[in-house]
Amino acid sequence: MSRIIKYVMFDILRNRFVIGYCLFIMLITFGLLGLEEGSSKSTLSLLNIVLLVVPLISVVFATIHFYNSYEFMELLLSQPVRRSTIIYSEYFGVSCSLSFAFAIGMGVPLIFLNQGLVSVYLLLSGIVLTFVFVSIALLGAVNSKDKARGIGTSLLLWFFFTAIYDGLVLLIMFSFSDYPIEKYLLAFISLNPIDLARVAILLQMDTAVLMGYTGAVFSEFFNSWEGLIFASGLLLLWAILPMLLTVRIFKRKDL
C-alpha cells in the first residue's frame, strides 16, 4: 500500500495545482500577518481561510483527482492488488499531499510572524479538516460514475457543513431559546467538523469572552483534557467514518 500511496503523492506533489495552492496560502498568510502583525483581526481572517478555503479546495481537488485517476485505478486492479488498498492509497495520497501543502503554506509564515497556541490550533485544524473533507469528498465521488454529478455532490456536502447545517442549528436555538440547551448545543456543534474547529480556535483567542455564558460553558469543556480528547476523537471519527463507508461501496462497485 505504501508504494501506491507514494506514487499518488508524488504524482500530486508534482502537480502544478498543489504547488499553486501552497503558494496561494503562503501569500495570503504573509499578506494578512504582514498587514496587521499579531492582531486578532488577521488571526480571524486566517481562521476563515482554514474554515472555508481549506475544506473547499480539499473537496474539489479530491473529487477531481478521483475521477482523473479512474483509469490508473482500473490498471492497478488488473494487478493482484486489493480494492481497499487502492482506495486507501488514493485517500492518503490526496489528503497527505494537500495537508502537506497547507502546512507549509500556512506554517512557514506563522512560524516567522505569529508564534503561539492559536497558530498551533490553526495549523492542526487545517490539517485535520483536509483529511475530513477529502474523506467526505471521496464518499461523494465513489457514489456516482458521472464526474459532474460527483463534483456537484461534493460541493453540496461542503456547503451543507459550512452554511446549511449551522442555519438549521440556529433555527433550533431560536425555537428552544427559553430552555437551557447549552449541553445539547455542544452535541450539535460537535457533529459539524467545521464548527468544532472554529469553536476550538476561537476559545484560544481573546474574542472568546464575547461568547458569553455559552462560551464559558464551552471554554470549560474544551480546555479540559476530556474535552480535548473528545473533540479530537470526533474529528478523527469524521476523517475515518466516511472513508470506511467509501471503502465498503468501492469494494462492491462495478467499475
Binding site: 476563515n48 459550512t162 452554511a163 436555538m173 431560536f174 440547551i181 474574542t207 458569553g212 462560551g215
Partner: protein, 411 residues
C-alpha cells in the same frame, strides 16, 4: 467702647496662634518620638513634620487644624486592625505619609485616612498600601485629594474596600491619583459639584470609578484600565464625562462605561478601546454622546430599550465586532453623523456625508441579543451570510437606529 476694646484684646491674645505657628519635629532623634504626643502638644495651625521611620500608634486622632507632613515617607502601620488617621477638624493638610495595613472589618468602614464632617481638608502626595478603604470622606466639603498612590493586593471583592470613597460630600477635587487593586477605584455616593481629573485607576476588582446618586459632577482626562469594569454611573444626573480613556476592560460581563438610570449627561471626547462593551446604556434620558472614539471593542455601544432622547453624533466607530447592539426597538435616540468603518456607501455630491443611510445594528447582533447562545456562531460563515442577505433585503433590523448622514472621514 468697652466691647470694642475687649474684642481687640481678644484678637491680640489669639494672634500668636496665627503668627507663631510652629513646626514640631517627630522622629527618632527629636523631642517627640510619637506622632500622638506631638499632636497633643501642638497648637492650632502648627506643622507636624514626621521624619522617616516606622510608627505604629493605633488610631491617630486629629481634632484641630494641623499640617501633617512626612519627610521621606514615614510609615504608619495599622497592623490590619485599626483606622490609621481620623480627621475630625477642618483645615487639615496631610501629605508625604506612607500608610499601610489598615484594619478590615465587616461592620466598620476602616480606612487609612478617614475624614468626618469637615471642610478644607487637603490630602496630597501620600502612599497608601494594602488598606481596606484608602481615603474615606463623609459629609465633608471643599476638600482636595491629589497626587496620592493607592494600592492593594486583596483578591476577593468582599474583603476589599474602595480606594477613594466619598459619602455625602460636595465640592471635592480629586486629581492625579493612581489607584490599583481596590474594590472600586473611586466611589461616589451622594456627592455633588465635584471634579475628578487626570487620575489613573487600573486593575481594580470591581469598577474603576463608581457613581451612585451623585449629580452635577465632572470627571475628565482620567484613565480606566483593566478593571473588572471601567466606570459605572448610576442613578445620577448632569454628570459630565470628558476626554477619559477606557481601556481594556475585558471580561465576560465587562464594559468601559455603564450608564444606568441617568439623565442629562454628557459624554465627550472619550476613547473606548478594547472593552468587551464600550458604552452600555440602560434607562438613560437626554444623554449626549459626541466626539468619542470607539475602537476595537466587542460591542461599541449597547443600548437597551428605555433609553430616551439620546444623541449619538460625531463619534468614530472603528474595528468593533458589533458597532451598536440593541435589544429591539429603542425609543427616540438620534444616531446621525458618525463615522462607521463598516459603512460602504458613497458620496456623489462630495459634501463629506454618505448618500445612503447606515444601519449600525446588524441582523446577527440582533439575533445574538435575543438568543445569547447564538454567540457561539461568532465569526462564522452563516452569520456573515445572514448579515449580507439582510443588507440586500432589510426586513428585521430596527429601522429607527439609523445614521442618515454618516460621514466618510474620521473626526
Amino acid at each position: 467702647m468697652n466691647l470694642v476694646k475687649s474684642k481687640i484684646l481678644f484678637s491680640l491674645l489669639l494672634l500668636p496662634c496665627f503668627f507663631f505657628a510652629e513646626t514640631i519635629h517627630v522622629g527618632a532623634g527629636y523631642k517627640f518620638k510619637t506622632i500622638k504626643s506631638a499632636i497633643s502638644q501642638s497648637k492650632i495651625n502648627d506643622t507636624i513634620l514626621i521624619h522617616k521611620g516606622y510608627y505604629q500608634e493605633g488610631t491617630i486622632l486629629i481634632e484641630k487644624p494641623l499640617t501633617i507632613v512626612g519627610q521621606d515617607y514615614p510609615t504608619l502601620d495599622g497592623l490590619h486592625k485599626i483606622e490609621i488617621l481620623s480627621v475630625k477638624s477642618d483645615n487639615v493638610n496631610i501629605s508625604g505619609l506612607k500608610l499601610i495595613n489598615s484594619g478590615k472589618s465587616d461592620v466598620y468602614d476602616l480606612a487609612a485616612i478617614r475624614v468626618y464632617k469637615n471642610k478644607n481638608i487637603k490630602i496630597s502626595g501620600n502612599i497608601l498600601e494594602n488598606n481596606f478603604f484608602g481615603i474615606f470622606l463623609s459629609k465633608s466639603d471643599h476638600c482636595t485629594i491629589t497626587n496620592n498612590k493607592l494600592s492593594s493586593t486583596e483578591q476577593n471583592q468582599n474583603d476589599s474596600g474602595n480606594g477613594i470613597h466619598l459619602l455625602y460630600c460636595n465640592n471635592i477635587f480629586i486629581e492625579n491619583n493612581h489607584i490599583t487593586g481596590h474594590r472600586d477605584g473611586i466611589y461616589f455616593e451622594f456627592v455633588t459639584e465635584s471634579l475628578i481629573q487626570k487620575n489613573i485607576s487600573e486593575g481594580n476588582i470591581r469598577y474603576g470609578l463608581h457613581f451612585m446618586f451623585s449629580s452635577n459632577d465632572v470627571y475628565q482626562e482620567n484613565t480606566f484600565r483593566n478593571n473588572g469594569a471601567g466606570v459605572a454611573v448610576m442613578f445620577s444626573y448632569k454628570v459630565k464625562m470628558i476626554k477619559n480613556h477606557y481601556e481594556h476592560n475585558w471580561g465576560a460581563a465587562s464594559y468601559g462605561l455603564l450608564l444606568k438610570e441617568i439623565r442629562d449627561g454628557e459624554i465627550t471626547g472619550n476613547t473606548f478601546e478594547k472593552n468587551t462593551i464600550g458604552l452600555s446604556m440602560e434607562g438613560t434620558t437626554r444623554i449626549k454622546v459626541s466626539h468619542n472614539n470607539f475602537l476595537h471593542n466587542g460591542w461599541g455601544i449597547k443600548i437597551c430599550g428605555g433609553c430616551d432622547q439620546g444623541v449619538v453624533t460625531k463619534n468614530n466607530l472603528i474595528g468593533n465586532t458589533f458597532d451598536v447592539s440593541s435589544s429591539g426597538s429603542t425609543l427616540s435616540n438620534d444616531f446621525t453623523g458618525n463615522y462607521w468603518d463598516k459603512y460602504l456607501g458613497y458620496d456623489l455630491n462630495k459634501d463629506g456625508l454618505g448618500d445612503t443611510p447606515f444601519f449600525p445594528v446588524t441582523l446577527s447582533s440582533l439575533i445574538m441579543e435575543q438568543v445569547p447562545t447564538s454567540l457561539l456562531y461568532l465569526h462564522s460563515f452563516v452569520l456573515d451570510l445572514i448579515d449580507q442577505s439582510e443588507k440586500l433585503l432589510p426586513q428585521l433590523i430596527p429601522q429607527n437606529i439609523v445614521d442618515k448622514k454618516p460621514t466618510l472621514k474620521k473626526f
